[in-house]
């Protein structure tokens, strides 16, 4: 198969599949087989020339394969002719505008009646270009386990009749949140984790950004779309720092110590344009986090970061989506804006909720260190080290602990 056709298949697969699932009335397995057969037929038929409307060709071919398969099943069951599927409209005019069914595919893949890990797997398999083996590798599962998870999800969609449609207006905000949650989980799986295959993790962040773009493109203009823009901006901004956030040894480099010339400027510019409409359109949790990330991205140096503004945005985020971790970030922003002595009481106030969280101890240790209270800082670093999970973070905390520990005490 030529590279051109292979790339075209990769680009068109989700769209062709999304429309074919509509033809098979929500039967994912049958639709996947039909799309596979349509691609195989295209390799034969396009040997000399690719048609003018390759997408239309593929959609029609897949639909015909699916209808053939349904007919065969119907015959097998000897059901009367009256119950046969309606003849599809094959008029060429219909092909000019192939409907885009990917949005309903997104909503069905992220339906709350499916287990969260199944939502992620199904989204990556059907809307993303990842194979079952790649998804298994990314989530540290065996291919057999992942294949089983996908089959179980598809069986439930068909058996319980999970609808293949964009939800009605009353449910749209909640269901859009569910889609965004899946996309952001995929992103974080690729971005935050330091274990596993680096290449496949880069693939996950790229896939999440692609899905985020798709959601912005397909959602009707509404508050939900503004928040989807916020999510896309947030992912673009985090990902723009991918090359600067680890050093040659694979150790984490803190935001303030990163070489800002290695940030992806084009990606930052794209994200910065998305932040104002996301804020105006509702200022949801993703939009607010994107606005915070945008302030970091816009600061020429760490020292010039607009911390008062960041603290104000964290305060709004704490109202909108309260959580102890957001409160911790607010406290850190206050410390950066008004000095460690101003931030410390905010941090100390969070002890009941966050005493088991290594980053609470690390943040507290950092403020104590900057206040010159080295003995207390050392105790806090040791507590953070006791709780930390990831190796790069452990090495960072050990370096800091060494800095605050007098040579005689080592």
């Amino acid at each position: 198969m030529s590279h051109g056709i292979e790339a075209l298949f990769r680009a068109e697969r989700a769209r062709v599949l999304a429309t074919t699932i509509r033809v098979t009335n929500g039967d994912f397995e049958l639709a996947e087989e039909a799309v596979q057969e349509a691609f195989a037929a295209a390799v034969e038929a396009w040997r000399d020339a690719v048609p003018v409307e390759p997408r239309g060709w593929l959609v029609l071919a897949a639909r015909n394969k699916a209808i053939d398969a349904i007919r065969r099943r119907v015959k097998l069951r000897q059901i009367v002719a009256a119950e046969e599927p309606a003849e599809p409209a094959t008029a060429a005019t219909e092909l000019v505008a192939v409907p885009d069914d990917r949005l309903r595919l997104m909503f069905t893949c992220c339906h709350p009646a499916l287990a969260p890990e199944a939502q992620i797997a199904l989204t990556l398999r059907t809307l993303g270009g990842l194979t079952t083996e790649e998804i298994a590798r990314a989530f540290l599962a065996t291919p057999a386990t992942m294949a089983q998870r996908l089959v179980r999800a598809k069986t439930k969609i068909k058996g319980a009749r999970i609808p293949y449609e964009v939800p009605e207006a009353s449910q749209l905000p909640e269901r859009t949140d569910a889609v965004m949650r899946v996309i952001y989980l995929v992103f974080n799986e690729g971005y935050a984790a330091t274990a596993g295959d680096a290449w496949i993790r880069r693939d996950l962040t790229a896939e999440a950004i692609r899905l985020g773009r798709l959601l912005v493109e397909l959602l009707p203009a509404s508050d939900g779309r503004a928040e989807a823009m916020g999510l896309l901006a947030l992912m673009l901004l985090h990902d723009s720092r991918r090359d600067a956030r680890t050093d040659a040894a694979g150790d984490l480099v803190l935001l303030e110590d990163q070489d800002r010339s290695r940030w992806d400027r084009a990606q930052i510019d794209e994200a910065l344009a998305l932040v104002p409409p996301a804020l105006v359109g509702g200022a949801g949790p993703y939009a607010l986090q994107a606005a915070i990330a945008a302030l970091h991205a816009s600061a020429p140096t760490a020292a010039e970061t607009d911390w008062p503004q960041i603290a104000a945005l964290f305060a709004r985020l704490a109202q909108r989506a309260p959580s102890p971790v957001v409160a911790l970030n607010y406290a850190v922003a206050i410390a950066m804006a008004h000095g460690p002595a101003a931030g410390l009481p905010h941090i100390d106030g969070l002890e009941p909720q966050l005493a088991g969280y290594h980053l609470w101890h690390a943040a507290r240790a950092d403020l104590l260190r900057r206040l010159g209270k080295l003995r207390e800082a050392g105790a806090a670093y040791r507590e953070a080290l006791r709780l930390v999970g990831s190796e790069p973070e452990r090495r960072f905390l050990e370096r800091r602990l060494a800095e605050v520990t007098p040579a005689s005490a080592r």
Binding site: I79, H111, A113, G159, A160, R161, I162, P163, P167, Q171
Partner: protein
């Protein structure tokens, strides 16, 4: 498509309700049943007697054994069911959420298996 909505709640909660409270809940059940009959979703339904009256039967190697009590000891017991007609899982979920016990227990929605020629 047909869905069986299995109503699980804690019998003890029902037993502990005051007469006025349980009367109100029964009233809600009667209203709900009337509503889904009127909207055409109702196919059938019953409340069950308490699990104290349950018997479990098994046949192994041709031998029938019966034991006292339900199959599984859980905090919530099967207390009744509705058989409904709904166009898809979303509609079934919306109907199940209106079953009064959804507020104190939980409703399991099970699609009924389609049998050919049935």
């Amino acid at each position: 498509m047909q869905y069986l909505c299995l109503i699980y709640d804690n019998e003890k909660i029902w037993a502990d309700l005051s007469e006025a409270e349980s009367g109100r809940l029964f009233g809600e059940y009667m209203q709900f049943t009337q509503d889904i009959k009127a909207s055409g979703h109702y196919l059938g339904g019953n409340a069950l007697q308490p699990v104290a009256t349950a018997t479990t039967v098994r046949v192994r190697d041709g031998k029938t054994t019966t034991t006292d009590g339900p199959f599984a000891e859980t905090r919530e017991q099967l207390g009744g069911y509705y058989l409904i007609e709904a166009k898809d899982l979303d509609e079934a979920t919306r109907i199940a959420a209106r079953i009064p016990s959804a507020k104190i227990g939980s409703i399991e929605i099970r699609p009924v298996m389609a049998t050919p020629d049935a």
